[in-house]
């Protein structure tokens, strides 16, 4: 399970935002991606999930049985082969309840065809059970209703991706707008799923204490390039990282 990018670049008006020779995500379990403002983290996330078209370069997803080129795929096809991303800005389906939103995420597109109109039961028992188990781990104001606050919407966005169990999950600033205890519960679930071998995860964060605590491996991105990679302790004590963060 590896997501590899080679010679990946993205330029807007001749201004290069991302320029990466080679990088691999998903090889080490729970990974972190950090970097100062304007380093190109969000652009890189967009490139990896095909929401942004690269100026040049190749992206490949290696799944045990062989590797797939991501370049020619549309964004829903990328999701179907197992690469999903949580959103930095709040995204949601306003007219779906929390439960429906999670049921939607866990239902495979194959069983959402025309014939599903005439199915007796909308969702099988095991779907209901997984949805309930996940929802009950969190203190939503109304577990059977709609996400009320911005924080709840943000949480639903993350839970949607967790319950879908992609091969590789990219989390884009999951803590922004979430209370500390909720963030911990989320990250504990993530860590458990990674440990169980259900998925690999890359977390993009500016909350560095969280990165140091949870990640097995950290990539440091600055000015569009990967400048340093290593275990949290190595990154933390690296001079380049400190300099780039504080500006030299």
């Amino acid at each position: 399970m590896k997501l590899e990018a080679e010679n990946l670049t993205k330029a807007y008006h001749q201004h290069e935002v991302v320029n990466i020779d080679k990088v691999a995500f998903g090889a080490k379990g729970l990974e972190g991606l950090i970097g100062p403002n304007g380093a190109g983290k969000s652009t890189l996330m967009g490139l990896l999930t095909r929401r942004i078209a690269p100026t040049s370069g190749r992206i490949r997803l290696d799944v045990g049985s062989g590797s797939r080129e991501l370049n020619p795929l549309k964004s829903h096809e990328v999701a179907r082969i197992g690469l999903i991303k949580t959103n930095q800005r709040i995204q949601g389906f306003d007219s779906l309840t929390i439960r429906d939103s999670l049921r939607l995420a866990v239902t495979s597109p194959r069983s959402e065809g025309f014939m599903s109109i005439f199915a007796g039961e909308r969702d099988p028992e095991d779907v209901e059970e997984r949805v309930s188990r996940l929802i009950e781990a969190f203190p939503f104001t109304d577990r059977n209703g709609y996400a009320r606050s911005g924080g709840e919407k943000k949480l639903v966005d993350i839970l949607r991706c967790l319950i879908a169990e992609p091969r590789l999950l990219l989390m884009d600033e999951p803590t922004a707008g979430l209370p500390d205890d909720i963030t911990r519960t989320v990250m504990d679930i993530v860590r458990q799923k990674v440990a169980d071998g259900k998925m690999r995860v890359v977390v993009v964060e500016h909350d560095l204490p969280l990165i140091w605590e949870y990640c097995d491996y950290v990539h440091f991105l600055s000015e569009g390039s990967i400048l340093f990679e290593g275990a949290p302790e190595e990154v933390k004590s690296n001079r380049v990282v400190a300099e780039k963060y504080m500006g030299v």
Binding site: G92, L96, R99, L104, I117, F118, A119, I189
Partner: protein, 310 residues
């Protein structure tokens, strides 16, 4: 009596169109402002096949609906992935094109002179207009039933997700473009089918039937009733077509010299109603829909002991 049956039959057609628009816009968020174009292509397609080529009525309706399906497929491929405003303008333009072509293609449609006559099926049955009303009723009830099932199904849930946030739905692996195209083509073809079924009601087809006011009447009905409520379309048609076209025009004691102003008064009221609804009750008279499925599954008592996943 015959006139009343005609009015009620036409009302069924309106309900059917509004129900299809509910699927397109209410569930999937496609602003189709060319309803009259798809319906009219079915209507005139059936008429031309029946009158000029002696095709029996039922095959004529089927062929006409297939033509509508092909045309809507082309249109869908061109503009469906563009912004809502572009879709709206393109469908409006499409309807205008159909209306103009009906006038220009005289050798097919007989232009402004009109195309006729299309008779009811069922041979020389005395009350065949009543039987035909029954057929229409069956078709429209089936449409409402299927769209109600759709609303509560996995497919419907996915469609609502696409309407709410297409990019997010795609990022969860849903084929948003494909779903939109397929649903659009099927519902447009069904609008064509309703057009074909309207042909025997009018018997004699004139380009005036393709005026854009039909599109707006259907939209007003949908918005009045509630665009995302399954029965909103039907209630909206009762409140507009049923109230004004049938009740008032048939039964209200209006002196003859003022009767000619009635249609204008009706459209004025449509306008006022539409403005009031959007300003004060944006979800329509019936409000938001709450599908039954959701109520059943979510009524189960929530277990408050925190259980961790995995």
């Amino acid at each position: 009596m015959d006139y009343l049956i005609f009015s009620f039959s036409l009302m069924l057609v309106y309900i059917g169109l509004a129900q299809l628009l509910h699927v397109q816009f209410g569930l999937l968020g496609i602003p189709n402002f060319g309803v009259v174009g798809f319906w009219g292509l079915g209507l005139y397609g059936t008429g031309v096949l029946y009158v000029s080529y002696d095709v029996p009525l039922v095959p004529a309706i089927i062929v006409a609906s297939l033509i509508v399906a092909v045309v809507s497929y082309v249109l869908a491929s061109m503009v469906l992935q563009r912004s809502g405003q572009a879709i709206l303008a393109a469908t409006l333009a499409f309807a205008a094109m159909v209306a103009t072509l009906v006038v220009t293609e005289k050798q097919l449609t007989n232009g402004v002179q009109g195309l006729g006559t299309i008779g009811f099926p069922f041979g020389d049955l005395a009350s065949r207009n009543v039987v035909y009303f029954g057929v229409l009723l069956a078709v429209v009830v089936a449409l409402i039933w299927v769209s109600a099932k759709l609303r509560d199904s996995r497919m419907g849930r996915m469609m609502i997700a696409i309407r709410d946030n297409e990019e997010l739905a795609a990022s969860l692996g849903k084929d948003t473009a494909g779903t939109k195209r397929t649903v659009f083509v099927v519902t447009c073809a069904l609008m064509g089918l309703l057009g074909g079924l309207t042909a025997p009601l009018h018997q004699f087809l004139v380009p005036y039937h393709l005026a854009p006011s039909l599109t707006f009447a259907v939209w007003i009905a949908l918005v009045l009733g509630g665009k995302s409520h399954n029965l909103g379309a039907m209630i909206g048609v009762f409140a507009t077509f049923g109230l004004f076209d049938i009740l008032i025009e048939t039964y209200a004691p209006v002196p003859a010299e003022q009767a000619i102003m009635l249609p204008n008064f009706k459209l004025f009221c449509y306008g006022v109603l539409l403005v009031m609804i959007i300003m004060f009750r944006p979800a329509g008279m019936l409000g938001e829909d709450r599908p039954r499925h959701r109520a059943r599954a979510d009524a189960a008592p929530a277990n408050d002991t925190a259980v961790k996943e995995g």
